[in-house]
């Protein structure tokens, strides 16, 4: 594939007796928004964690930008996540004791940017996500929708090449969910970041360029299958 960014081949991962992934393969291209769908317990989140280098699969291979992700040590993967990846979780998982501004600045600071500069860039992102008024508030005092937008800002602040989003609108109502998806996809397209979006909601998946289905630990990609048949 021409501009394949993240390629996973035949991933297997078990937690104890349960096999979360049983030979999953997927390709994420640069700049594309990919929806990962499937029933709960199918292994979607595990696939996401493997692709993001948070979890090491039991077997299989993942390459990111032609580098072997599975062979990297924990320290190297951690460094990669700091520089190249962004994350959004279902429940935000903002650090409750830091202000929203500090939360958004955190990934930059972890990557070594000085505090003043980090907070300046964070503020710009908060503005772009239309939540600059909560900059000095604590996450416990703002609404869910605002919180997720702060989380989106946090995921984009380091200019990542891939953003991993795990049910980002799961805890939000329709309007807030829409807002978040619109802002996320806009920002991703602007910066050219790819987005791997785990969701079980079709309306959310409709924001992606294409979708794959994970069932019983295996990936079903009808688009890829169709292309193969055509080739």
């Amino acid at each position: 594939m021409s501009n394949a960014l993240l390629v996973a081949t035949d991933l297997r991962k078990s937690y104890g007796p349960t096999a979360a992934l049983a030979g999953a393969s997927v390709t994420v291209r640069a700049g594309e928004i990919l929806a990962v769908m499937g029933p709960s317990g199918s292994g979607k989140s595990t696939l996401l964690h493997c692709l993001a280098g948070i979890v090491r699969p039991d077997s299989g291979r993942i390459t990111y930008a032609d580098r072997d992700l599975t062979g990297m040590s924990d320290v190297e993967r951690s460094a990669l996540r700091r520089s190249d990846f962004g994350f959004i979780f279902q429940f935000g998982q903002l650090i409750p004791e830091l202000t929203c501004l500090e939360n958004v600045a955190l990934p930059l600071r972890l990557a070594g940017v000085r505090r003043r500069e980090a907070e300046r860039r964070a503020r710009a992102w908060l503005a772009q996500l239309e939540v600059e008024d909560v900059a000095n508030k604590l996450p416990g005092t703002i609404s869910g929708g605002q919180g997720q937008r702060v989380a989106v800002a946090r995921s984009l602040v380091t200019g990542p090449r891939v953003v991993f989003a795990d049910e980002p609108t799961g805890a939000l109502d329709s309007l807030n969910g829409e807002k978040v998806m619109v802002l996320l996809t806009q920002a991703a397209r602007e910066t050219g970041a790819a987005v791997v979006l785990v969701t079980h909601e079709p309306r959310v998946a409709a924001y992606a360029d294409r979708e794959i289905v994970v069932r019983d630990g295996v990936v079903h990609d009808r688009l890829a299958q169709a292309l193969e048949r055509a080739a």
Binding site: A35, M37, P39, V182, E201, P202, R203, A205, A206, Y207, A208, D209, E211, V213, R215, H220, R222, L223
Partner: protein
């Protein structure tokens, strides 16, 4: 969606020609599937017969599309009544999806296949709608949202049904495996499954 009532509503705003009615209807309410001319003529004829509209004028050239129609008092009253009355929610879908899934059960096929195929299609449409929504005006957004929600509803029903059906089939298969060693059960469901699973 009632074409007749829609025409009446359009005519209430101003008198229109036949072709104007069809064009407006297609653009505003059914861009994917334009109305068939035959349906237009039939609808207009019925409305005329019921005295809800009258012919206001004629363009030279003949044909129903050249006639100009206007609404009557009775027509206005009709529109009013229709708007005030809620739509009947449809507990029984009369579309192909439902038919397909039921057939899958009867012929012993996996419903998951159907689900996957349909999902790809639904999502393709939903993607387009989502794209249109982001670049359109308020009317576009309302229309697209409406369609999106319904498409999603279809998909969700489909997912749940697929799981139910596969579940039921598994249970039946297990009980069939047990019953193979017992005399035939009088239950018709079992027999039909045996027929379905050679």
């Amino acid at each position: 969606m009632s074409v007749a009532h829609t025409f009446l509503g359009l005519l209430e705003s101003q008198p229109r020609h036949g072709y104007d009615l069809k064009r407006t209807y297609d653009e505003a309410f059914s861009p994917e599937r334009p109305l068939a001319y035959g349906q237009v003529y039939a609808t207009l004829a019925r409305l005329l017969k019921n005295g809800l509209i009258v012919v206001d004028g004629v363009e030279p050239g003949g044909g129903p599309e050249r006639k100009r129609y206007a609404i009557t008092e009775a027509g206005i009253a009709d529109v009013q009544a229709w708007l005030a009355q809620p739509e009947r929610p449809e507990p029984y879908l009369q579309n192909v999806l439902y038919t397909k899934v039921v057939l899958a059960l009867l012929t012993g096929r996996s419903a998951t296949e159907i689900l996957d195929v349909q999902r790809t299609e639904h999502l393709r449409l939903m993607r387009e709608l989502t794209r249109r929504k982001s670049s359109g005006d308020l009317t576009d957004q309302l229309i697209c949202d409406h369609a999106l929600f319904h498409l999603e509803a279809d998909l969700r029903w489909l997912e749940l049904t697929a799981v139910r059906i596969d579940d039921l089939r598994d249970r039946l298969q297990r009980s069939v495996a047990r019953d193979d060693h017992r005399p035939a059960s009088p239950r018709s469901a079992t027999r039909s499954t045996r027929r379905a699973n050679p």
